[in-house]
């Protein structure tokens, strides 16, 4: 086992356990891991931004390929830093205006295309289909997402939930009924999404625990076990001392 992997196993196992202590209570070990995490992640982002933005997007094209048009975004980026100088703070608005302007422009047709047209197109489906011998029939296989019954359920769902989101008319009479159906649909969907996410989250937990079990192997010097003992011991000492402090 190379040394860096052994060290890596110990560090990874330790940090994993420290974060897990949060489940017991907020404590110094968690705080240590938390602050380290914030530090490392910001550092990581800075390095990545430096590497991709400064080096690969700015420095190399400008100096090596002579693409001086990049002075424009460089200038606009600099304007953002004008915030630190009260007299010229307004200059930073130019940078915001540029970003937000481009973003809004890009958004409009793309949202219409993929979130409105595409969704409407897929909801508008015939409620009958042609049978093999040519006559129209109504297919009601629930497991086939393209069956007519499912098309109908889908339509009812979309329509009733849209009714719930009307704000400028009072919810009474038929609108109330529709909106209420909408709420039921909303709740079913939330429940289902919740249940589905349980699976995804549990897989992650399983992944972390599998790693810990692996690091408990003799070839890693039983890192997880020793660190678990150390963590528990630290927590006990900490709780006892805090108890004493409170009494004293």
């Amino acid at each position: 086992m190379p040394f860096e992997m052994l060290l890596g196993a110990w560090v990874a196992a330790g940090l994993t356990l420290f974060i897990f202590t949060f489940l017991y209570k907020d404590n110094p070990l968690f705080k240590l891991a938390e602050h380290l995490y914030v530090g490392i992640s910001v550092g990581y982002t800075i390095v990545k931004v430096y590497d991709t933005v400064i080096i690969r997007l700015l420095y190399e094209p400008m100096v090596k390929q002579g693409d001086w048009s990049l002075l424009v975004p460089l200038g606009i980026g600099m304007l953002m830093l004008a915030r630190y100088f009260p007299k010229i703070t307004w200059l930073s608005r130019i940078a915001f205006a540029f970003i937000v302007g481009v973003g809004s422009g890009l958004a409009i047709p793309r949202i219409i295309s993929s979130y409105i047209l595409k969704q409407v197109e897929d909801t508008v489906r015939p409620l009958v289909s042609l049978a093999a011998e040519g006559g129209p029939t109504f297919t009601y296989n629930l497991l086939d997402p393209a069956s007519n019954l499912n098309a109908l359920v889908l339509l009812i769902g979309v329509v009733s939930v849209l009714f719930y989101f009307f704000f400028s008319i009072e919810h009474k009479g038929p609108v109330r009924v529709a909106a209420h159906t909408g709420i039921l649909f909303l709740m079913i969907s939330f429940g289902a999404a919740f249940g589905y996410t349980v699976m995804a989250r549990m897989s992650l937990l399983i992944g972390r625990l599998t790693d810990l079990i692996e690091f408990a192997d003799p070839q890693y010097g039983r890192a997880s076990l020793w660190l678990l003992l150390a963590t528990v011991a630290t927590l006990i000492v900490w709780s006892v001392r805090r108890g004493e402090q409170k009494e004293g």
Binding site: G39, I46, G77, R93, V161
Partner: protein, 216 residues
């Protein structure tokens, strides 16, 4: 001066907004080229925005240390993590691995970033359970519907559930594919209309919250 302060940003937003909305309808390579260029620019400008954030973070913890606020020692840990990662990252030229061998930066990524991130995610597994216990109560018809749907889907997604109630797999699939799709679709249509309306207002200078200060 007033023009520069008030009108120029609005003018920039207006022009950029129209140009890039129009870009969508133009298939010519020149328009594609324009899009790639400006995307690169936005990335660069976004990089500078990070300076704002990092300064704020530095300031916050510097104040903590100076005032010796509770837990100021952890601020040192944060600084150490931050500066250490930057040093190691620059040393490795921002590369996690060279010729397939991990650099020190890559080591920090694999053995510190990944476990920390993964464990935070894994904590969700515990929280999702406690959230279910705390809030899945049949207080009303709506709440009952929600909890029944959740239980069915939880059953249907694992071998044991499929074994005990064979239909649960298909049923949960149906809930996810049909009912869930219809609701998400309606929510999406609603918020998309909101997003388009907002973008239009921004382009035409009616909505200025993004410039800060709301009205003026």
């Amino acid at each position: 001066m007033i023009f520069l302060r008030r009108q120029l940003p609005l003018l920039i937003t207006f022009v950029m907004g129209l140009v890039f909305a129009a870009q969508y309808y133009v298939p010519h390579p020149a328009s594609e080229q324009l899009l790639t260029t400006v995307n690169k620019w936005i990335q660069i400008i976004g990089g500078f925005a990070l300076v704002l954030g990092v300064t704020s973070l530095f300031h916050l913890h510097a104040v903590k240390i100076r005032r010796k606020e509770a837990g100021w020692g952890y601020s040192f840990v944060l600084y150490a993590g931050l500066l250490g990662t930057i040093a190691v990252g620059l040393w490795a030229n921002g590369k996690e691995a060279v010729n397939g061998a991990l650099t020190a930066f890559g080591w920090m990524y694999s053995y510190m970033m990944v476990p920390l991130q993964g464990t935070m995610f894994a904590i969700l597994a515990f929280f999702i359970a406690s959230a279910a216990y705390r809030s899945f109560r049949a207080r009303s018809r709506e709440a009952a519907v929600l909890l029944v749907a959740a239980v069915i889907v939880m059953m249907g997604r694992v071998p044991l559930g499929e074994y005990l109630v064979p239909i649960s797999g298909d049923f949960s699939q149906w809930i996810l594919n049909v009912l869930n799709t219809s609701v998400r679709r309606a929510i999406l249509i609603g918020i998309s209309l909101g997003a388009v309306a907002l973008s239009l207002k921004i382009i035409f200078g009616i909505e200025r919250a993004y410039l800060g200060g709301g009205k003026e």
